[in-house]
Amino acid sequence: MTKVKDERSERLRQYMDECREKEHSESQLIAILHKAQEIYGYLPREVMDEIAHYMNIPTAHIWGVATFYHYFNLEPVGKYIVSVCMGTACYVKGAGKVLETLKKELGVEVGQTTEDKMFTLQEARCLGACGLAPVIMVNEKIHGDLDAERTAELIKEYRNRGG
């Protein structure tokens, strides 16, 4: 296990210290993984090892939880995470076309990251913005009422903003 004593691991340590104070600290795992992903952008193996030892939770168990939820990234992600809503409303209103356009524009499949590390393409189930269907979310921001053309434009905009 590589022990990198940097600012990021200190932050995670602090958070885990708080969790260890709580009752049933082993049940804080999902919260800790969220924190780790917030800090690192994804869940590196060394970080999961660190959590395992610090929280006294078997590594295989952490791996089981991390792979169960789509939210957790096991590989580094791009600067912009593009989540395409495939919920019922969006699906009916043409989310499929939006997704196809994104795949073509970005040159990646769902779950992959572009070579320039700018975009990661993901699918999501209902982002709670059905009134704007079909929607995508880029990092924290929702973009609605999309079609193939507007999707392509949107990507161009983000690309122009640069890394």
Binding site: M48, H53, P58, A60, W63, F68
Partner: protein, 590 residues
Amino acid sequence: MKTINITVNNRDYKVEKGQTIMQALDGLGFKIPRLCYHPKLSIEGACRVCIVEVEGMRNFVASCSHPVEEGMDIKTNTGDLRQARRDIVELILDNHPEDCHTCERDGICELQRLAYAMGIRKRHFEGEKKHYEKDLSSPAVIRDPDKCILCGRCVRMCEEVQKVNALRYAHRGFNTVVMPAYNMPFSESVCTSCGQCINVCPTASFVEKNYTQELFEKLNDDKLVKVVQVAPSVRAAIGEAFGFPPGKAMEGEMAAALRRLGFDHVFDTQFAADLTIMEEANEFLERVQGKGKLPMITSCSSAWMKCLEQFYPDLIENVSTCKSPMSMMGSMLKTYFADKQGLSPENIFSVAVMCCTAKKYEAQRPELRVEGMDPTDLVVTTREVAWMIKSSGIDFYNIKPEQFDAPLGVSSGAGAIFGVTGGVMEAAIRTAYELYTGETLLDIELKDIRGFKSVKEGSITMDGKEIRVAVAHGLGNAAELLDIVRKDPDRYHFIEIMGCPGGCIGGGGQPYAGSNSIPLDEDVLKKRAEALYGLDRNRTIRRSHENRDVQRLYKEFLGRPLGSAAHKYLHTHYAPKEPRGIIPELSKSR
């Protein structure tokens, strides 16, 4: 005992309160079909095979997880139920390779038996099948996710009984796979090679790494001198693979069958067990006299060895430096025996028949080499050797017992009980007592440390000095005991740990449970243990140090116990290993 009234298939019964429906029905002579259930593991309710109909309930009820209640009206065998159970098993089969006749568990597979019992004669469903690569990285255990039906017994065994936590479900839905952390190769995971996942797996998703073909080739190689040793527990269980009831000790039959398989010399690991006791008892007494750390912990179990290095690096100095009996025997084969026979050690092919999968791992540990040679060239399990005997047309059922060969084939009763939990300790005390006090221990059956309690304690007084001992079987129980040792290091002087439930008799390489039994059934384990205790009782020599051939070995070759030759050939060392294992303080277990 509080009883309640229930109706089963229109008949009234009284049953004990507080049970599950399945337990209540088991007591009434019903045996509801089941798959993911195992009495030693927590209840998962994953497979739904054990459903029953309960009047007033909208859906069928999984009998393994539902409590039986007053006035319940249960049906176990209606047309709808039979259809539903059949559909459930058929759907499991649908995502399972259709290769039964080439599968290692053909004829000894729980899923196959269940499909037959459910009356599946026709396949109605056809859908997508998963496909993953087999994990062949471990020298001991093979993982084949294609055959996995996600019953989770292996996960629970590894987590609850062994507390190794090498396995978990990963991913979700159709993509769910049982795997080690990071889907890393098994050989790089915390897996201790104990093989208990194999014992509880209902299919061939976990099997031992099979070396039978390689062994057949070597047996046909005329340039080699083929030498074999047999572990105590193999003789206590191999009969089960041939339809004998559990508990038949088949010592002479083993020797005879191995000779017919083509081995030139048939030796007994029990001889090496006596040798181990000579070293271990002396090592213990040295430690008692202040040379080395106490408590001393035994080192015979290979799964425990790997567990120690990954989970308990802080206790390495407490563990005896003695090699296991298998490796001691191997070391003697390639030195003492080779000399005696005028053979070049390279021409000796050293085979071990073991009740254990972890011995396959042990055999390739570089620390154990003598003069650059592996003491053991190949390890086969009880299951593998049973198959070889059948496959070679040897009539094991009727074969006449024969003796093991000299000079490494004669053993004391103490060597025989090495295979059962508490046995190594008992054997060591028989010898240590005499060495320490100069008097013979008369009452040699140490009842306190026999039996299947999770952690057993005992004590013996030697020349006024009280020696406190403890015994744990199964790595989960060991964790419990070692936790005590970490907190209170002075509580015990001597500790025995065996990696498997019941000791080697419950090893990961023992015959699969038959159709009327369950894996690791305690009654079966008791009978296997009794077979070994019986061998002990029937020996005239029951103390390792009285074994004449062991005495001769010291006189002719080794010098004295713990002497320089003994150290060179019979002792080893351990070192901390990555990945570090984690034993959660709070873990599910029943």
